[in-house]
Amino acid sequence: MKKPVKLKFGSKGTKVKNANSYAQKEEPPGEEKCSLGLSSSLEENLGHLREIFAKSTDIIFRDFTIGRWGRLRAAVVYVDGLINITDVNENLLKAVMLEMPMAGNDQDLTKLDVLQKIKDSAFPLSQVKEATLIEQVVDAILSGDTAFLLDGYSTALLVGARGWETRSLDEPATESVVRGPREGFVETLRINTSLIRRKIKSSDLKIEMMKLGRATQTDIGIAYMENLATQELVSEVKKRLQQIDTDSILESGYLEEFIEDNPYSLFSQVNRTERPDKVAAGLLEGRIAILVDGTPFALIVPALFIEFLQASEDYYERYMISSFVRLLRYAAFMVSLLLPSLYIAITTFHQEMLPTDLLLSIAAQREGVPFPAFVEALLMEISFEALREAGIRLPRPIGQAVSIVGALVIGEASVSAGIVSPAMVIIVAVTGISSFIVPNYAMAISMRLLRFALMILAASLGLFGIMAGLIAIVIHLATLRSFGMPYLSPIVPTHPAAWKDTVIRTPWWTMLTRPPLIKKGNLHRQRPYTRRWPGQEQGGEANGRKNKN
């Protein structure tokens, strides 16, 4: 870890090391930071900065003079591409170089605290901070701020005129909906926090920031509702995040692995989403969202097993439809987990469970197939997975072509060549479709792995193997916790009160309370009888009947 740091700063010894902002993390926590202060000489400051930023061609140093006769030397330092160049030109350089001198005379400039004056009245920009340490300046520059240094002052002004190319708000690619907001997070943390803030206009929404990653200095935002999230949870999340000491955080996936309760589990214990509405919903249930700069994926903790089988659209569509879709999804989940292994177990161990006609038909199809059912299934499942992977990695038009070639041509050809039986193709296809119904990609992946494990168990011990596998999975799930929450709640430990939003989704007006997982503050989502308006004395239930009459 130390090597690249030194390379970056040359071999200039202790001074540089002190100024080195990255060194800070290497020190044991709790010790005071030692950093070099800015000197009052512009030359010296610029010298330091040039040294630090040596061989970094994207750092722009612009020195100039202020005042009619150019008595005061000043400089701006910024990273090209991270700033809004118009802002810097129009509002910063123009202000001090052209407009300031008009405002007063040179006498004033020498006598007054020029820097204060500039800060107070020259920059028509909202974000101006002062900094006295080189480290702060370097940090700020690297984050996209523009540093304004003035000769004779050991204070630098950090001007927030950030601006870089960002992706426009787009529909989230992994979580598209038919009904619901179509905006997804982007790669810029600030935009993402603004998206959340736009959903929750409450002063209780807190977004705390921290930086992680020695090299990447990634901004991390921890968002929570102060009145809903428990203090223990918030401090637990912060504690776990602060423990992280790594080089880089390039995606929220890095964090996920660092903060999970059980890193050896196949199941993701942290929910991830691209959707601001999902984050907002999570926050309003007392959860904590972790936003990471540079990725559109936010993390939500704690995450529960069933949430991986729910989509945010469930809450926007009519509740009966949502409930039906949920049931369908649970069924699809089981199918995609179990179908191939059940097929193997039943056709090789428990043939009596098939209806006679089906048995004969499968037997006829398998006539001449050279492989045992297990190998056949393995072959097909692996090629299916390969096709899926190929389809994802290739550019979209080619990906589609690959899928078509794979699905149609290979499938058809292998059946007519007698390598696999048509029944197996159906099984694999149904499994594949079902696995796409599972809304969460993380869960879909773990299921794919488990499917193979169950297939092996089925091939060696039949239904007993499958049952043993399922029991093992359930036990594993029962031991898992996500930030202290039992992973399988509210199923077990049982919280019947939370079941309104588990297997089915009951109408919004019946969900009077938030899920009682997070026991703090006001549990009530809404008043009882929210649906009370003239003619609705009976509460919501009477509504349907009334409308009919």
Binding site: L359, A364, A373, I456, A459
Partner: protein
């Protein structure tokens, strides 16, 4: 994982589905000379059974099933002998049918049924039947709509036109006190075209040689009646009509047709379709002897009326109902006479009804039940009602 994979192949209970010889039906006979069991298995040939789409039916040489038979002292021994002939493992899990030849049945069936009840593969719901002659012939018979005789008989049974007895029912009847088992009888008959073919020549008898009748249907399996058992031994038969009576007595008849002569035009007929019914048997003791009241209630719909009848009049309907009841009672009496007097086997389970009502008295009666049963007094009460008459009220008549 690798260890697991290495452990598994070949051994244990793992069998690929196409390595199975799926037995659809089993025939059991007793060899005339050696008294050994003769086991006939009807094994499905999946390829030719399901090849319908590709080859447009199976050719004359392509029979959908393969029939093998072998002998042994026990069924299991016969099975082992047959297993050496079959290239695939014999698989009993889908056996629909068990047919027993009458020779074997007369000798007692409890020994052979033990195998099927004990083994894991055969199902308890396989149908049990008896045939006069050799069970092997039934298995070798032809099936027209279905692909195999086993399936044909299976469908025949499910349509509930005759007695339906599966292994579990039979074993229950056999082990239970105060009831004797009965099983449907299956026989061979040329069905369908046979009526037409009867006209031209003399070769209309059932055993006519196959060569002359190429265009005619080969004989097919058909439910022809009921086989009556005393304990586990076959003792007699009922024909189709009597079987229906037996079904009513046992309270199992859910469907069936009764045709009675019209009340005012004895030559013309009318038919009633029985929709539902129930039978209630009440034992009682009169002068130290068991007496039974058998109350049969039937509901039916008028299906066909050949004679002019004022059906709008309730009195007509009442009259019809009475006629209908009398006809039923006659048939029931006929059947009962046969089982009570001729064969003296209590297949209805009167003894069992008595046992439930009078457990103490039954203890004395039970050992002599075989002797007592032919003497018991039985009173029949048949009640019928006609509920619907189809789309018509009055029957169709030309204008006069």
């Amino acid at each position: 994982m690798i260890v697991l994979l290495l452990l598994t192949p070949g051994c244990w209970s793992r069998k690929e589905i196409n390595d199975l010889a799926v037995i659809l039906a089993v025939g059991l006979d007793q060899e005339p000379q050696s008294n050994q069991l003769r086991l006939t298995l009807q094994i499905a040939k999946p390829k030719s059974l399901t090849a319908g789409t590709k080859q447009a039916g199976f050719g004359p040489g392509q029979k959908p099933t393969w029939i093998i038979s072998g002998t042994g002292d026990t069924i299991f021994e016969a099975t082992r002998n047959l297993a050496t002939e079959s290239s695939r493992d014999l698989y009993w899990g889908h056996t629909i049918l068990l047919v027993m030849g009458d020779r074997l049945a007369r000798d007692g069936v409890n020994q052979v049924l033990d195998f099927f009840a004990r083994a894991q593969q055969p199902r308890e719901i396989m149908w049990i039947m008896v045939t006069r002659g050799k069970a092997e012939d039934i298995l070798r018979s032809h099936a027209e709509l279905e692909s195999t005789p086993a399936q044909r008989i299976g469908f025949l049974i499910r349509s509930k036109t005759g007695l339906t007895v599966n292994l579990k029912d039979f074993v229950t009847m056999m082990t239970k006190t105060g009831i004797n088992p009965a099983a449907p009888e299956v026989g061979l008959a040329t069905v369908g075209l046979s009526e037409l073919k009867k006209l031209p020549g003399p070769d209309n008898d059932e055993k006519g040689d196959q060569g002359n009748r190429k265009n005619e249907m080969p004989p097919q399996a058909k439910l022809t009646g009921t086989a009556l058992f005393r304990e586990a031994k076959l003792v007699g038969w009922l024909d189709r009509k009597e079987t229906r009576g037996l079904l009513w007595l046992k309270g199992e008849a859910t469907k069936g047709i009764i045709t009675i002569p019209c009340p005012n035009h004895p030559k013309e007929k009318l038919s009633v379709d029985i929709m539902r019914g129930s039978t209630e048997i009440t034992p009682s003791i009169a002068r130290g002897k068991p007496v039974f009241t058998i109350k049969i209630k039937m509901e039916g719909d008028l299906k066909e009326v050949h004679c002019p009848l004022p059906l709008g009049e309730p009195a007509t309907i009442h009259h019809l109902e009475k006629e209908f009841a009398r006809d039923m009672e006659e048939r029931v009496r006929g059947t009962f006479y046969k089982i009570q007097k001729q064969y003296a086997v209590d297949v209805i389970g009167l003894g069992n009804h008595f046992y439930r009502r009078y457990p103490q008295e039954w203890k004395i009666l039970a050992p002599r039940w075989e002797k007592v049963f032919p003497e018991v007094g039985v009173e029949f009460q048949v009640q019928t009602s006609i509920i619907h008459s189809g789309f018509l009220t009055e029957p169709l008549e030309p204008w006069k």
